[in-house]
Symmetry: D2
Subunit: 133 residues, 4 copies
């Protein structure tokens, strides 16, 4: 399991006084970006090399409790599945007292941009993800 | 079915050159806000009255095709389910030539804020949603 | 003068119940993107051609009145200055009863990306901007 | 001088491959929120108490160098001016090798919400700001 902690910023909230539902995916993606760096596969390198991308092909979230401005939260990421060309991650966002605010799943596929087709994940990435499973 | 058309703005895109996956939910919510106005249940009134909220309790999306800066798109919203205390909407975001970029589902519950509990949807809203089903 | 009208979305607001100060620049840029399309110089073409960019090199805003969720607003853009390599725009964002919410200025420079240097604006763009002055 | 360090997230970038000009204000506000916590005047307390707000009434930025996805940056905040009812902050955002990406100024006023008028800053806040000057 990978953990990432941060704090809710004003920019994440909306006029209902809570984190806007779409912004949770920003918070989870920030944690995921850290995970990829830790796994030795930083997205900035993928972007700089060009030619390939690792788009999110599925995202879903269930919202359990509201998250307010200034609250500290923790994101836990678990590896749910590692396929040849894609992988799935499970995310839990918790605040104080381990209160669960949001559970989410994302799926990611490696794509060769010119031919617009999914390609096998590098072995090193597969291994790093499997080690976390 | 409800339809909403708009164009991708620079603020929706990311360094991968496409609409950021989380931003699709912003685009879909903009369409949903228009829908609620058309149904006679504008969210600004709910917000102004206070005491109640209509949070998104579930959101999921499958991403089929990338959406680029400046492209025009159309959001179609269908009513999937109308319960006593919540409803579900199905969203399709299509671009030129009716190419499907994203399919999504959202679920919404009416909440009494002080008691933090779900309450029945107003009959007028239920009827308006059912008429669209 | 160029005009653009739109409505405040939930995604633009923050927990203080108003449009977040940084989000005004998103609203103004949306209007500016429409202006550039009308002038025959759509930013999507610039992006697609590659090699050049038109970054914002200065932005400033004075906030006069809060803007609330669901309010309709109008952005007025005036051309303040057209130089050889850059131009300046003046923006006013007004809501109902012509109430001024925000006055802003932005400056934009055309850049040759490989050599990282400012280059002359195309004559057609200069003329189109000057015609609007 | 107050310092805050962070890293550029995918959500901050746009299709031009750099941090979107408006998003710099999000990055600077995040640093400012940390500053206010350090000064003993967290914005979440102001929000929770209700009745008052501390809106940004002016914001301006000059953009010097592009900031790319994944880059680490440092925000330096200096107190430029402390008035009876408002204060001004100077922000510098620097990346690796102390390269200056953005210089900005923001002005903030304390407002009594019901009467919609500026009110004197608490002495404790004035002192804390002056100590940083």
């Amino acid at each position: 399991m990978f953990e990432h902690t941060a704090r809710v910023e004003m920019a994440h909230t909306d006029a209902a006084g809570v984190v806007f539902f779409a912004r949770y995916f920003d918070l989870l993606h920030r944690a995921y970006e850290d995970l990829m760096r830790q796994l030795g596969f930083p997205l900035e390198d993928l972007l700089a090399r060009g030619g390939q991308a690792l788009p999110v092909i599925h995202a879903s979230a269930d919202y359990r409790l509201p998250l307010f401005y200034g609250e500290c939260y923790r994101v836990e990421i678990r590896v749910l599945k590692v396929g040849r060309r894609h992988f799935e991650l499970g995310h839990r966002l918790l605040k104080e007292h381990d209160s669960l605010c949001c559970e989410a799943t994302t799926a990611h596929t490696l794509v060769q941009l010119e031919q617009k087709k999914a390609i096998p994940l590098p072995d090193a990435l597969r291994s790093a993800l499997l080690a976390l499973e």
